[in-house]
C-alpha cells in the first residue's frame, strides 16, 4: 500500500529541541509545562537565531551602508516575508511588526480608530475577549464617545451567533473578536463571522494570539481586514508581534507612533510618512526578535501546523476525559471538536491559587487566576480558574501527572 505522506509527528524528537524541557524545577522534579497559552517555550533554533544575530550581524537596520547593516536589514525583512507567507498575507507590506498582539490592537484603535470613528459609532466586541481587546476600545470610547456592545457567551462557552447577527443589524463600524479564547479554548467561526460582518458593512479585527501558534491561519481565506498576534506564544521571542492589515486599509491609515523609520522626510515645518509597513514602525525595532520569529515560523512549518493541531486535539480530548473523572472538577468551554489546546477548570472547595501551588510542587506549571478575562469569569460567576494549556511538546503522560496532582489536592484539603 501507499505510505502516508503525512510527516511523522514524534513528540520525543520535538521535545529534544526545547532545552528548557529537560530542566528540573525542584530538586529531582522535572518541569511539566502546561502554560503555553501564557507563553510558549522556545526551540533551540529560535534561541540560536537571536544569538547568531548578536554574535555575527548585529547592526541597526534600514539606514547603514556598511556590510553589517545590509545583512541585518536583509535578515529582518526576510523574516517579515516568511511570516507574511505563514499567515497567507498578499505581501510582506501587510505585515507590521509590533511588540505583541496587545500593541497591534492598540495600533488599530489609536491610528485607525481615531481617524475613522466618531461619537456614537458602534464597535462590536464579545464577552470572551482578553483584556487586550477590551481596554484599548474602552480608552477610545472614553476619548471620542463610542458605543460598545458585547456578543454574549453561551453556557457551552461558544459565542451566541444569533445575538451577533442582531447586533450586526445595528450597523457596527468594526467587529473585533478573538479567534481562539485563551480561557475557554473555543475556536470561533472566523470566516463565517467575517462574512456576516462584511455584509453588515463592518470591518473585522481578529485577535489571533491563541490561534496562529496552534492552527493553520490564512488571513486571505478568512477574509479578515486586520489580524493581531504575538511571537512569544508561537515559539518565538518576547517583544515581537504582528499587526496584519489589508494593504489598502494600511495605506489609508494615519501613522501610529512618530519617530525615526516611520518617516520619509522631516523638515522644520512637517514630515512625510514612510511606505507601509514601515509607516507604523517608529524607532529601532526589535531586530533580533523579528529574526527569531522568522526562525519560529520555519520551525512550525517544519513540524506542520496540521500535525500540531491534531496533536493538541488528542491531548485536549484526553485531558477532558481525565479531568472529568476527578471529583469536584467543573470544566469550562465547549466540546473537544470546537476547542483549541486550552482547558480551564475549578474545583469545589479549593481556590485555583492553592491548586496551582500544589501542582507546582510536582513540577506541573499551570496558570491560576482570571487569565486577563475578568468579564468572562464574571459571566461564569467564578473569581478565578485553573488553566492547563497544551502545545506541540506536551504528552499524555504530562496530563496524567496533572490529574495525579489534583488527587493530591483532594487529599491535602480532605475533600469528600
Amino acid at each position: 500500500m501507499v505510505q502516508s505522506q503525512v510527516k511523522v509527528f514524534d513528540v520525543e524528537r520535538i521535545r529534544e529541541q526545547f532545552p528548557i524541557l529537560s530542566r528540573e524545577v525542584h530538586p529531582g522534579t522535572k518541569l511539566i509545562y502546561l502554560d503555553s497559552a501564557a507563553t510558549s517555550q522556545k526551540p533551540r533554533s529560535v534561541i540560536e537565531a537571536s544569538t547568531d544575530f548578536y554574535e555575527r550581524h548585529n547592526s541597526n537596520i534600514h539606514r547603514g551602508i556598511h556590510r553589517l547593516a545590509e545583512e541585518a536589514t536583509q535578515a529582518h525583512e526576510d523574516a517579515r516575508q516568511r511570516i507574511a507567507d505563514f499567515i497567507g498575507a498578499h505581501s510582506a507590506r501587510e505585515v507590521v511588526f509590533t511588540r505583541n498582539a496587545t500593541e497591534s490592537i492598540n495600533l488599530l484603535a489609536y491610528a485607525w480608530g481615531r481617524a475613522n470613528l466618531k461619537s456614537g459609532d458602534l464597535v462590536l466586541l464579545t464577552e470572551m475577549e482578553h483584556h487586550s481587546n477590551l481596554v484599548p476600545w474602552y480608552m477610545l470610547a472614553e476619548e471620542i464617545g463610542l458605543r460598545l456592545e458585547f456578543v454574549p457567551v453561551t453556557d457551552e462557552g461558544t459565542l451566541d451567533l444569533e445575538a451577533y447577527q442582531s447586533f450586526l443589524r445595528e450597523g457596527p463600524r468594526l467587529v473585533a473578536f478573538v479567534h481562539v479564547s485563551n480561557m475557554l479554548g473555543t475556536i470561533n467561526p472566523v470566516a463565517q463571522m467575517t462574512d456576516l460582518a462584511h455584509e453588515a458593512g463592518a470591518l473585522v479585527l481578529v485577535d489571533g494570539a491563541q490561534s496562529v501558534p496552534h492552527i493553520a491561519v490564512d488571513v486571505r481565506e478568512l477574509d479578515v481586514d486586520f489580524y493581531a498576534f504575538s511571537g512569544h506564544k508561537m515559539c518565538g521571542p518576547t517583544g515581537i508581534g504582528v499587526f496584519y492589515g489589508r494593504e489598502a486599509l494600511l495605506e489609508a491609515m494615519p501613522p501610529f507612533m512618530g519617530g525615526g523609520d516611520m518617516i520619509k522626510r522631516v523638515h522644520l515645518d512637517g514630515f512625510t510618512t514612510n511606505d507601509i509597513p514601515w509607516k507604523f514602525e517608529a524607532g529601532t525595532p526589535a531586530i533580533a526578535q523579528a529574526i527569531g520569529l522568522g526562525a519560529a515560523v520555519d520551525f512550525l512549518n517544519e513540524v506542520g501546523m496540521e500535525n500540531i493541531h491534531a496533536h493538541e486535539q488528542s491531548l485536549t480530548g484526553y485531558a477532558l476525559d481525565r479531568l472529568n473523572e476527578v471529583p469536584g472538577v467543573t470544566i469550562y468551554g465547549p466540546e473537544p471538536a470546537l476547542r483549541g489546546g486550552v482547558v480551564s477548570f475549578t474545583m469545589a472547595g479549593v481556590h485555583p491559587h492553592d491548586i496551582a501551588q500544589i501542582l507546582d510542587s510536582d513540577g506541573v506549571a499551570v496558570r491560576a487566576g482570571h487569565h486577563c478575562t475578568m468579564p468572562l469569569h464574571e459571566r461564569f460567576e467564578i473569581p478565578a480558574s485553573v488553566r492547563a494549556s497544551f502545545y506541540l511538546y506536551n504528552t499524555m503522560e504530562e496530563i496524567d501527572r496533572l490529574v495525579e496532582g489534583l488527587h493530591k489536592v483532594i487529599k491535602l484539603f480532605d475533600i469528600e
Binding site: 481556590h351 510542587s361 473569581p383 484539603f413 480532605d414
Partner: protein
C-alpha cells in the same frame, strides 16, 4: 509545598473561627486582590478605650489568605487600635508560621492591608465611624 499547606492553614481555611460579620460595627473595611479575585472584609467593634472588643471577617480567597485573615482577626481582639496600627507584616507571617514566596505574599497580607486601612481610617476621619 507541604510546609505551605500545614495542618493549621488547611484547618483555618476549612473551619475559620472568626468568620462572620458584625452589625452594627464601629469599623468595616473591604478590599480585594484583583489578581486572584480574593476579597476580604473585616468588621470591628471597639470600646471607649479604643480597644477591640469584637472582630470578624468575611469574604472569599485561597487557603493562605483565609487562614491569615482568621489568625489575624483572632489576634486583635483585646488589642488597642494603637497596637494594631503598629502591626507589621512579619507578625502576620509569624502567625501563619510558613515560608511565603513573593507571589503568595499578597494573599498572606491582604487581611493586614484591609485591617490597616480600616484603623488608619479612624485616624483621618475621627468621628465618621466607618469607611464603608
Amino acid at each position: 509545598m507541604e510546609d505551605l499547606y500545614r495542618e493549621q492553614i488547611i484547618d483555618r481555611y476549612k473551619n475559620p473561627r472568626m468568620r462572620g460579620s458584625l452589625d452594627p460595627h464601629d469599623f468595616s473595611y473591604e478590599d480585594d486582590n484583583p489578581l486572584c479575585g480574593d476579597r476580604i472584609r473585616i468588621d470591628l467593634r471597639v470600646d471607649g478605650d479604643e480597644r477591640v472588643t469584637e472582630a470578624a471577617f468575611s469574604g472569599t480567597g485561597c487557603a493562605i489568605s483565609i487562614a491569615s485573615a482568621d489568625l489575624l482577626v483572632e489576634s486583635i481582639v483585646g488589642k488597642k487600635l494603637d497596637e494594631i496600627r503598629k502591626l507589621d507584616k512579619q507578625e502576620v507571617l509569624d502567625m501563619l508560621g510558613i515560608e511565603v514566596g513573593p507571589i503568595r505574599l499578597k494573599c498572606a497580607l491582604l487581611s493586614l492591608k484591609v485591617l490597616k486601612a480600616s484603623v488608619y481610617g479612624l485616624d483621618t476621619i475621627e468621628d465618621e465611624i466607618t469607611l464603608e
